[in-house]
C-alpha cells in the first residue's frame, strides 16, 4: 500500500498539495484526475521521491520515502514522468535494460535478461529492439519507456499522463496493456489522467483532486457522476452510460 498522510507541498505561500491523506494501490489501476494545477503530478512526484515533501509522510509498504535508501525503493516502485526527452542516444534494448539497474547495477544476469525480454515481448517491441529511440514514433517510444518501467519489476508503477501526445489508437493500446499488466501480474498502477473517459473505462478506482485537495476517492463508478465531475472541473459534464461504461459528455 502507498500511504499518504497529511502531505503538503508549497511553492512560495501557495500550497499545491494541501494536507492530503490517501491510500493508493489497493487495487489494480487507480487514476488521479482533476483540472490543471490540482496537484496531481506534484503528488505523484512526491510519492516517487522526485520532489521533497514540505509536510506529512508517505510510506510504500511501510517504507518511508524520505528515509529509505533509493536503491531499496527502486525495487518497490517505478515511475515514468511525462517528459521523456533524452540527450543520450539509446536503443530500445539499452533503455529497457536500464530498468534492471536497481537489481543488477549494470551487470546483467540471466534473470535480468529474462525480465528484459519479457518486458520487450509484453509491449510488442521485438521488431524495434535495435532501433534508436529517436527513430521511433511517439507511441513506440512511449511503449519503450513503459517496457523499461515494467522491467523494473516493482509492485507499484506510477505513470504521469502516459497518454500524453498519443493518438487514439496508441492511447487505447497503452491503456489495454496497463490493464492487462494489472490483471496478469498483480501490479498496482497509479496514473495521472487528463481524459476522464479513459480513466472511467480502465480504472478500478479514481481519485478526484482540485486545488491541492482530494475531493473524492472511490470506485470509478462512484466518482463518474455528473455532480462530482461538474464540481471538480467547473464545467457541466453529462455522465451517460454507454455499453455499461460511464462516459462523460462535456464537449458543448
Amino acid at each position: 500500500m502507498i500511504s499518504i498522510s497529511q502531505v503538503t507541498k508549497r511553492y512560495g505561500r501557495q500550497a499545491v498539495v494541501d494536507d492530503v491523506s490517501l491510500e493508493l494501490g489497493g487495487c489494480g489501476i487507480t487514476s488521479i484526475i482533476g483540472p490543471n494545477g490540482a496537484g496531481k503530478s506534484t503528488l505523484l512526484s512526491m510519492v516517487a521521491r522526485l520532489l521533497p515533501l514540505d509536510g506529512g509522510t508517505i510510506t510504500i509498504d511501510g517504507l518511508d520515502v524520505r528515509t529509505t535508501p533509493g536503491s531499496v525503493l527502486a525495487t518497490k516502485v517505478a515511475v515514468l514522468r511525462q517528459d521523456n526527452h533524452l540527450a543520450a542516444r539509446l536503443t530500445v534494448q539499452d533503455l529497457v535494460s536500464f530498468g534492471r539497474y536497481p537489481y543488477s547495477k549494470g551487470r546483467l544476469t540471466s534473470v535480468d535478461r529474462d525480465a528484459i525480454a519479457r518486458a520487450i515481448g509484453y509491449l510488442d517491441l521485438e521488431p524495434f529492439v535495435d532501433r534508436f529511440l529517436d527513430e521511433l514514433s511517439g507511441g513506440q517510444r512511449q511503449r519503450a519507456f513503459i517496457a523499461m518501467v515494467l522491467a523494473q519489476d516493482t509492485d507499484y508503477v506510477l505513470l504521469d499522463e502516459p497518454l500524453n501526445n498519443l493518438d487514439l489508437r496508441h492511447a487505447v493500446d497503452i491503456m489495454k496493456l496497463l490493464r492487462a499488466a494489472a490483471d496478469d501480474t498483480g501490479k498496482r498502477i497509479v496514473l495521472v489522467m487528463h481524459d476522464i473517459n479513459f480513466a472511467s473505462v480502465y480504472s478500478d478506482e479514481i481519485v478526484a483532486m482540485r486545488d491541492g485537495r482530494v475531493v473524492l476517492h472511490g470506485p470509478s463508478s462512484e466518482v463518474m457522476q455528473s455532480e462530482v465531475l461538474g464540481l471538480i472541473y467547473d464545467l457541466p459534464i453529462d455522465v451517460r452510460e454507454v455499453d455499461g461504461e460511464r462516459i462523460g459528455y462535456y464537449y458543448r
Binding site: 511553492y11 522526485l50 527502486a74 540527450a87 543520450a88 549494470g106 518501467v149 523494473q152
Partner: protein, 333 residues
C-alpha cells in the same frame, strides 16, 4: 513460418550492435598509437637520444590534457543532459584562473615562487574543487533545474570570474603579473615536470574512482527523474562527478591554460563515431580522439606551419565552427 527468419536474424544484429563500439574503439586506439609513433620518430635531425625523450615529454603532456579535457567534458554533458555544453563554457576554467590570480594578489608573486610547487598545486585544486562544487551545487539545487538558467548563470559567472581576475591583474605590479602570466599559459613545449607528475597522479585517482562508476554515469545520463526512479542517489553522484570535473579542469588549465572548444570537438566526435552513449565506450573514445587531435595537430603545426601559430588557435578555430554547426543542426534543445 516468417517468425523463424526473425529469430534467426535477430541475434546476429544484436551482436553487431554490441560489437561495433568496441571495434571502433580499437581502431581509435590504433590511430592514437600511430599518431604518437609518427610524432616521436618522423623527421629527426641529429641525435635520437635527445629528440625522442624530448618529444615524448610533449606527448606525455598532451595525453594528460586530452584525458582531462575529454573526460571532464563528457561527464559535464552527462550531468547537464546537453551535448553542447563544456565545463569552460560554464566558467570552470575562469574560476581556476581567478584562484591563481587571487593567490598572487594576496600573497605576492614571491610566495608563488617560494612555496613548494606540489603543495601549491594541491591547495589550488582543493580550492577549485570546493568553490566549483559549492557554486554548481547551488545552481543545480535551484527550484526549477532549467537548462537555460544554468547556462546563463554559468556564462555570467564565467564573465564575472574573468573580469575579477583581469581587474586584479591590472592592479598587480609588473613583475608579479609576469609570473602569473607565465603560470597561465604554459604551452606543450614547456610544461613543468613536477606539474606533470602531479597531474598524472590526479588523473590516475580520477580514473580509479571513475572506472567503478561507469554504469552509474550511464544512469545519470537518463536525466534526474529516471535516475532517482532507478534508485540512484542523484545528488550524491552528481556531486562526485562535479568534484572529478573540477580536478580535471584544474589539471588541464594548469598544464596548458584554458581551451574552450576542444572538449566539445572530441566529445561530439566520440558520440558520433561510436553510436552509443555508454560511458565505458565514450570516455575512452574521447581520450583517444583527444590524443589523436592534439598529437596530430601539433605534428601538423610543427611540420606544416613551422610553428608559426599556436595549437590552441587551430583547435579553437575548428571547435568554434563545430559549435556553430551543432547549434544550427539541432537547436539548443
Amino acid at each position: 513460418m516468417p517468425t523463424d527468419t526473425l529469430t534467426l536474424s535477430r541475434p546476429a544484429s544484436v551482436l553487431a550492435y554490441t560489437r561495433r563500439p568496441g571495434v571502433r574503439l580499437g581502431i581509435l586506439a590504433v590511430l592514437a598509437v600511430a599518431s604518437v609513433v609518427v610524432f616521436l620518430t618522423v623527421d629527426i635531425v641529429g641525435s635520437w637520444d635527445f629528440a625522442v625523450p624530448f618529444r615524448a615529454r610533449k606527448v606525455y603532456a598532451m595525453v594528460l590534457v586530452a584525458f582531462a579535457i575529454g573526460v571532464s567534458t563528457v561527464l559535464f554533458q552527462t550531468i547537464t543532459d546537453n551535448r553542447i555544453l563544456t565545463p569552460s563554457i560554464m566558467g570552470f576554467d575562469s574560476l581556476y584562473l581567478l584562484i591563481q590570480t587571487l593567490v598572487v594578489f594576496v600573497f605576492g608573486a614571491s610566495a608563488l615562487a617560494t612555496v613548494d610547487e606540489q603543495v601549491k598545486w594541491v591547495v589550488e585544486v582543493a580550492l577549485m574543487v570546493t568553490f566549483s562544487t559549492l557554486l554548481f551545487r547551488w545552481i543545480f539545487a535551484g527550484a526549477k533545474r532549467s537548462i537555460y538558467l544554468l547556462v546563463l548563470v554559468g556564462i555570467v559567472f564565467g564573465t564575472l570570474f574573468r573580469s575579477l581576475s583581469s581587474m586584479m591583474q591590472r592592479m598587480l605590479d609588473p613583475a608579479s603579473f609576469a609570473v602569473l602570466q607565465d603560470a597561465f599559459f604554459a604551452s606543450f613545449n614547456a610544461v613543468d615536470e613536477q606539474l606533470m607528475l602531479m597531474s598524472a597522479i590526479a588523473i590516475l585517482l580520477v580514473s580509479l574512482v571513475g572506472m567503478r562508476m561507469m554504469r552509474v554515469f550511464d544512469v545519470i545520463g537518463l536525466g534526474e527523474s529516471h535516475a532517482i526512479g532507478l534508485g540512484v542517489n542523484h545528488r550524491r553522484v552528481v556531486t562526485v562527478m562535479l568534484v572529478l570535473i573540477a580536478i580535471l579542469v584544474s589539471v588541464s588549465t594548469a598544464l596548458v591554460g584554458p581551451i574552450t572548444f576542444f572538449g566539445l570537438i572530441v566529445s561530439n566526435l566520440a558520440y558520433a563515431l561510436l553510436g552509443t552513449s555508454r560511458h565505458a565506450f565514450v570516455l575512452p573514445a574521447t581520450v583517444l580522439l583527444g590524443v589523436i587531435c592534439l598529437v596530430g595537430g601539433q605534428f601538423i603545426l610543427e611540420h606544416v606551419f613551422a610553428l608559426d601559430t599556436a595549437l590552441s588557435v587551430v583547435i579553437e578555430f575548428a571547435g568554434g565552427i563545430l559549435f556553430i554547426v551543432l547549434l544550427l543542426k539541432r537547436g539548443v534543445r
